[in-house]
């Protein structure tokens, strides 16, 4: 499971073996995503935020990080979170509206999904600050989309990071749209990366559908951060093929020709071509990889579906470290009316 360690062992060089591993992850992430959309359509999970099209950016980024690094994700970072060690079943549970879906396993430094936009970026700054204060060799990555660059929190986080020279990366997947609003209505600048200049930090723009390029950009920025060189804003230019979430319909705000144009630049197809050119991949391996991905995703879905009814005591369990009197009373009343756990 731990591809990160393998990545570490191989250092910066992207060996064919590592590229193959990356490719398999991208397939797994895409398959996971498509199944998640189907699960939502059939009413077995709730609203879901698809990421199809962004696999190269997420997996490339994930591989460039170390196990000890911290992630502060949005609600669309399933790919990079999985690569970093978040179990797939946990992600399914989250989208099934279950509190267990918020829990990262011990040793996996992933903060719970932030639903509000850009609000996790100051947190990433703080976490990186703590690492710096403790003299640790750890990098923190705050994830964001293009829309988040309009929020105040984005600018405040960038400014703090620059002022305090923190080991933090802002990894922006510019996927073209904030729900229905295109980048051209989100900013008057040509690129998002150039916004870094205003805060005195490094800004990098990379082809987000090129997993290798993303890997290298993140690796370089992370190395610089680790050695005290300060923060970087990375703009990975990519595209989401589907809707913002399963609750909206992207055909209302963009046409199929645009989506299809991006499909021609698909990150998975591109890495596959690289592997074929290197002579380390075959159609048999391709078939086997999709079958393996299917089995992996199926196991996670079964784990999610087999979860016992959600325990309604969880409403109270983590509201405070120690339950105050008024919540003890409310819990007692709830138990009286609805029984002791196991859902309504």
């Amino acid at each position: 499971m731990n591809r990160i360690d393998q990545c570490q062992a191989e250092g910066k060089s992207l060996s064919p073996a590592l590229l193959t591993e990356m490719y398999k992850w991208m397939i797994t992430v895409r398959h996971f995503d498509r199944r998640a959309v189907h699960l939502q359509r059939s009413g077995r999970i709730g609203t879901y935020a698809p990421l199809e099209g962004q696999e190269a950016a997420q997996v490339g980024c994930g591989f460039a990080l170390e196990k000890r690094d911290w992630l502060f994700p949005t609600y669309r970072e399933h790919g990079v979170s999985m690569v970093h060690g978040l179990p797939m079943a946990t992600i399914f549970l989250y989208w099934n509206g279950r509190p267990e879906g918020c829990i990262s396993p011990p040793g996996v430094n992933i903060f719970p999904i932030a639903v509000p936009i850009a609000t996790q970026l100051p947190h990433a700054v703080g976490a990186a600050w703590a690492s710096k204060l403790r003299g640790e060799d750890t990098v923190t990555v705050g994830f964001l989309g293009d829309g988040a660059t309009s929020e105040g929190d984005f600018h405040e986080a960038m400014n703090f990071a620059g002022v305090f020279q923190l080991p933090v990366l802002f990894f922006c997947q510019n996927n073209g749209y904030a729900i229905s609003v295109p980048l051209s209505k989100q900013t008057a600048t040509e690129t998002l990366a150039e916004k870094a200049a205003a805060y005195g930090i490094a800004g990098v723009r990379v082809d987000g559908n090129d997993a290798v390029a993303v890997y290298e950009a993140v690796r370089t920025a992370a190395d610089r951060a680790r050695s005290g060189g300060g923060p970087t804003l990375i703009e990975a230019v990519t595209y989401r093929y589907g809707s913002h979430t399963t609750a909206d319909d992207h055909t209302r705000y963009r046409d199929e020709a645009e989506v299809n144009g991006w499909r021609e630049k698909d990150g998975i197809a591109r890495l596959k071509q690289t592997l074929l050119t290197l002579g380390v991949w075959s159609e048999e391996q391709e078939t086997a990889a999709w079958e393996e991905a299917d089995a992996t995703v199926q196991r996670a879905i079964e784990e999610m579906l087999a979860a016992p009814p959600v325990d309604h005591n969880r409403i109270f369990e983590h509201a405070y470290a120690k339950l105050p009197w008024h919540l003890q009373e409310q819990r007692a009343e709830m138990r009286k009316l609805y029984g002791n756990g196991g859902g309504k």
């Binding site: 509206g97 509190p99 999904i113 229905s180 209505k185 900013t187 509201a319 009316l337």
Partner: protein, 325 residues
Amino acid sequence: MAKRNLIQAITDGLRVALREDRRVLLLGEDVGVNGGVFRATEGLQAEFGSDRVVDTPLAEAGIIGASVGLAVNGMRPVPELQFAGFIYPAVEQIVCHVSRVRMRSQGRFSCPMVIRAPYGGGIRAPELHGDSPEAFFVHQPGLKVVCPSTPYDAKGLLLAALAEDDPVLFFEPMRIYRAIKEEVPDGHYTVPIGKANVVREGRQISLFAWGTMLRVSLEAAELAKQKGWDVEVVDLRTLSPLDRETILASVEKTGRALVVHEAPKTAGLGAEVVALINDGALLSLEAPVGRVGGYDAPQPLFSLEDIYAPDAKRILHGIESVMNF
């Protein structure tokens, strides 16, 4: 007259306002091409143009802050926040500026705007999409807070809010956006701000509710009837300022009261209604005024939202507690 659900009534109200008043403009995230995440502004950009139905950058504080300037300079902005749970980045603008423009400028400027925000749980939405933050804004002087529970009221209250000289927060109960259809008149009409509505007459206990909780309270009133209790149900409709007259008249008639809301119970709007009844109708009371609210825990993920929000069973339990005091 056409039958409309609550969201269609709001769309119609916005259309009437845009037609009648050149000063009115709608702004927010996805309100234009996409017609809003709940389709409240569907078709309005096509009809009125992208200068009057404006897709903005993704920035709640920016949307409300810009609306302050628009309002002060003669426009009637109707900013939309996609969900009430996304209002928090804009709280600084609402609390520090929107609500204080009139006071700070001693009447030289005013800040008339209608901030629309869908609120409440019950639609299996992700985290933070189901909050009920009305009490925060009722607590803030300088604002009016409105929360309709029917399509007819939604349109009438919206048009009344647009005619106000003060800023109005307009909380829309998204759980019942499409749950009910009723006759909603075409054209302009208003439902007055500041007036509650007795939607069910009763003699023994008054239930006060609004928005999403009104229908659940009516359900509970039916269950109570089977137990022999005659329940009056009052839709507050305007949460700030409260309709003291209607609330007290109801309590004076029934002698007992229960307030129902989905927001956390502690320091929720229910506490204010209780205080208002204590101040104005203490001697009419046969029992302490009860409250049924959400639990004092953060609004949970959707697998637990049905048990978090009061249902008819919990409200009935509240009625029993007051009746059996």
